[in-house]
Amino acid sequence: MTINLDWGIFLQESPTGDGPYWTMLATGLQWTLATALTGWAIALLVGSIVGVLRTVPYRPLALLGDAYVEVFRNIPLLVQLFFWFFVWPELLPAEIGRWMKQDMPYPEFITAALGLGWFTAARVAEQVKSGILSLPRGQKNAALALGFSLPQTYRLVILPQAFRVVIPPLTSEFMNIFKNSAAALAIGLTELTFQMKQMVEYSNEVIVSIAAATVLYMMLAFAVNRGMAWLEKKARVPGMIGGGR
């Protein structure tokens, strides 16, 4: 049996009229990048806030944080994306719902970025919380004893240490968000996996198409990994966790 692989396929015009096949994948890559990076920004911001809330000495706020994590971590990402895309606009006042369905720009992208961001935020919150709890209790007391308010204590003393502790698990989450962004094809976002499927259908070059997408995903993950390793090194403090290496 011989397998014929046409590696020149990328330069051929696609029948969609969007130019050669490689531009199809390039567009997909762009949407994947845009979705994952926007989602990550949301995840970091929301996740940090929720993670902090879960450790503050005010029970209602801590419960609110816990509830967020329970909801967003326990429902499959795909279901969450379907919910935000198809169900959520129906639950809003008619005017807003109609706007979301008809006039909102880039509805698939916005929904995917937000959905992915909120889903990942729950996981980031879990990491941030464990980072905070890993610090000696005395650090908080020492900061308070110097006269810092609780928000100052978090901002100046606890979080700078906690984030250093959780850079490795956050790296995993950052890589995950790129891979998870593939789920957005289910709501019609023309991201990399979506475009890969298109290419398979139009060109019939199954192996070549999937191989190309695989390589692109691997490159993304590798870039994230290297970038975070650089950050970890930059943030390293002599005599602190891992600083001795």
Binding site: A142, L144, A145, G147, F148, R164, V237, G239, M240
Partner: protein, 242 residues
């Protein structure tokens, strides 16, 4: 300066402080000792509101610590505290450790804070370590920096919570020397410690606690000469053997 009036505290059903009353006047050095679990650390943490208490009152410089309307951060910024495990901020250099609260809490300029910090660092004999990080210093050095950090806030009183318990024997003295000097300069101090030599040298009074109660509260000479309570006698006979 510090008035502690019938303070009680419970963790659930368990009473950790029972009707504790004492006071520390301006310029006084009061040493708090007692077996572990007797509530001495808890008591000293109540003084600056790091631990809440359920009954009684603590007045520091005319301000009630337990009053929910009290601006605790403001009060704490005037009372220095030194901890058993130093608690320098490991992600900041020694200089930054000394300056952070001066700038962010007291609103001093970076220059002013820097000058003050270095002056105090020099005083505890560690000027050469200014650019290092806490993890690069020995325990004794870290504790001296921690004392300098507290002093940088120009405190009206200092609280010490077992400042030498986590140190190697060789390093205990370098910390006690700094504390002794501070006491001789007239700083108001409340020290939880087992260092009876230090107590003999500089204490005005010694408080002995057991099971959450202040069992003995006496002048230094009286305490070491003829303690009233049997429990304090026992304690002293055990730790003064060596």
């Amino acid at each position: 300066m510090i008035q502690i009036e019938k303070v009680s505290k419970w963790y659930g059903q368990f009473q950790v402080l029972a009707d504790c009353s004492t006071q520390v006047s301006k310029g006084e050095v009061v040493v708090v000792c007692g077996p572990s679990g007797s509530g001495k650390s808890t008591l000293i943490k109540c003084v600056n509101g790091l631990e809440p208490f359920q009954a009684g009152s603590i007045i520091v410089d005319g301000i009630s610590v337990g009053d929910p309307k009290t601006n605790l951060p403001r009060l704490r910024s005037k009372v220095g505290m030194v901890f058993q495990h130093f608690e320098l901020f490991p992600h900041l250099s020694i200089t930054e450790n000394l300056c952070l609260a001066q700038v962010k809490v007291l609103g001093r300029s970076m220059d002013e804070a820097h000058q003050k910090g270095l002056q105090l660092l020099d005083r505890v004999g560690l000027k050469a370590q200014a650019a290092k990080f806490p993890g690069q210093l020995s325990g004794g050095q870290q504790q001296r920096v921690a004392i300098a950090r507290a002093l940088a806030m120009d405190p009206i009183a200092m609280l010490f919570d077992e400042p030498t318990s986590a140190l190697d024997p060789e390093m205990i003295n370098e910390v006690l020397d700094v504390m002794t000097e501070l006491a001789q300069e007239g700083m108001t101090m409340m020290c939880v410690t087992h260092e009876m030599g230090f107590a003999r040298r500089v204490a005005s009074r010694v408080i002995f606690m057991d099971h959450g109660q202040i069992v003995e509260d006496a002048g230094k000479d009286e305490f070491f000469g003829a303690p009233h309570s049997e429990r304090a006698q026992q304690f002293l006979s055990k730790i003064l053997q060596h």
